[in-house]
């Protein structure tokens, strides 16, 4: 699997689970390892997606990776 394809697969995995299951970096890594990618390759793919703003980290008692969205708890700024 080349880097571009892996990045696409990582995004699709997060997108598929958005709103259903919060994905940790470890969950994504294990899923992609099962498809033949190495740990470092997955790490690089996540990094590319986060640095590009397509995915973001979130914290809800632990750290997860999500597609950026408006938070329900976010108040309009004064």
């Amino acid at each position: 699997m080349d880097a571009q394809e892996l990045t696409k697969k990582v995004y699709e995995l997060v997108e598929k689970n958005q709103g259903k299951k919060k994905m940790k970096a470890g969950d994504i890594t294990k899923a992609m390892e099962a498809e033949g990618a190495s740990r470092d390759e997955v790490k690089a793919a996540i990094r590319e997606l986060v640095d590009g703003g397509k995915l973001v980290y979130s914290y809800f008692g632990g750290s997860f990776i999500e597609i950026p969205h408006t938070e329900g708890s976010a108040n309009p700024q004064s």
Binding site: G26, K43, S58, S73, A74, Q77
Partner: protein, 392 residues
């Protein structure tokens, strides 16, 4: 700024001889709307006996998964100044040394974009800035990084490593704590800023068993300076101490391993039985010094009681030579992380994983040899379980 609020319950916390955080918030409130409304919402929470904060979320700076802790209040119309009240963690210098110029620069940035309120330092080790809005986060990040600072860790990542002042000021230090802390921070930038662990991982470095960073109780990995040869003794200074203190009672009598004797003339130490607790050296620093063959004891598993009960760290490497660039330490840490990543559940600290899976799994994965110093308590059952490969 919203109208003045009465704060009778908070005012009570200004009484007494001790410093008051209420007094500090009131001072900040004179020029900060955020600090002003913080007083209001705190008073309200005390009155209602519930928190009005909502914690967590996706706020942060681009590319980073840590360093900003999102916080909103559930009464934004009543207290608009704290509608957003995000916390920013600034990675401190090793040993917490700041120049006055650096401190002023940081405070100027925080006065410009936030409430002006800080925790110096939070128990995480970072300089903690309390209370800013989402749209101020990127400008804050741009300004601090332009001056050479960085955000600290938060979430399920490596938290900002911290150390005591070590050899810079302390004659007891057996390792260069500040250099170790600084080097590890640079080696593990990815792990610090991009949360990929099951939960948080804290590294604290203390130069000796006095453990000024309280690593044993607070850090997942405690690196404690020690020595493995003999305590150096200056018998002439022992005699001087003998004229001022009762060595038999205060030193020999309080030695936890009873490895010392004093006949009124010379102090003798059976170093094979010494557990390097530092008590005698602390009491007679001119007469006793740590040995010359110095390194660190590596301990694992300390944590506060969040998911399960509190744990104290226990020994996994009794003695490790630590010299720059500390590749041996890095190698061990990466092996531990790999094992934890593989087996850890969400929010399970590494010490809890060892408790759940047992030392055998951790030792097999890291290649560490089992040694008597790893035993933290007498065994609770008489059975020995052999792995299939160990049975001939």
């Amino acid at each position: 700024m919203s109208k003045d609020v009465k704060t009778p319950m908070l005012d009570d916390l200004e009484k007494g001889a001790w410093p008051s955080f209420v007094k500090e918030i009131k001072t900040a409130a004179k020029k900060s709307n955020t600090a002003h409304d913080l007083l209001g919402i705190l008073e309200r929470s005390y009155r209602d006996k519930v928190t009005h904060w909502k914690h967590g979320g996706i706020v942060g700076v681009l590319g980073y998964g840590g360093g900003v802790i999102g916080r909103y209040c559930d009464l934004p119309e009543e207290f608009p100044g704290v509608a957003h009240f995000h916390t920013v963690r600034i990675n401190p210098p090793s040993g917490f040394y700041y120049t006055s110029k650096a401190m002023k620069e940081l405070c100027d940035i925080w006065d410009k974009y936030g409430s002006g309120l800080t925790n110096l330092h939070g128990s995480t080790g970072d300089m903690v800035w309390l209370g800013t809005q989402t749209d101020k986060l990127e400008p804050i990040f741009a300004e601090i990084t332009a001056k050479g600072w960085d955000l600290g860790g938060s979430g399920s990542c490596l938290r900002t490593p911290s150390s005591c002042v070590g050899k810079s000021r302390c004659e007891f230090s057996n390792i260069d704590t500040m250099d170790i802390c600084h080097t590890l921070t640079h080696k593990f930038q990815d792990e610090l800023h991009r949360p990929a662990f099951p939960y948080k991982f804290k590294i604290k470095v203390s130069g000796c068993a006095n453990d000024c960073t309280a690593a044993v109780a607070r850090a997942d990995m405690s690196i404690i300076g020690t020595w493995r040869d003999n305590i150096r003794i200056d018998q002439a200074e022992v005699k001087n101490y003998a004229s001022k203190m009762n060595i038999a009672e205060e030193i020999v009598g309080m030695c936890p391993t009873k490895c010392m004797s004093f006949d009124g003339g010379a102090l003798k130490i059976n170093d094979k039985d010494c557990n390097r607790c530092m008590h005698c050296i602390n009491q007679m620093p001119k007469a006793l010094r740590p040995g010359k063959e110095q390194g660190a004891t590596i301990m694992l598993g300390g944590k506060a009681p969040i998911v399960t009960g509190a744990l104290m760290s226990w020994v996994i490497v009794p003695f490790m030579k630590l010299e720059a660039p500390y590749d041996n330490l890095e190698d061990l840490i990466r092996k531990l992380w790999e094992w934890w990543d593989e087996h850890g559940k969400n929010r399970e600290r590494i010490g809890e994983l060892v408790d759940r899976m047992g030392m055998r799994s951790m030792l097999e994965s890291t290649g560490l040899p089992p040694v008597p110093q790893m035993v933290k308590q007498p065994r609770t059952n008489p059975y020995v379980f052999w792995a299939p490969g160990e049975v001939q």
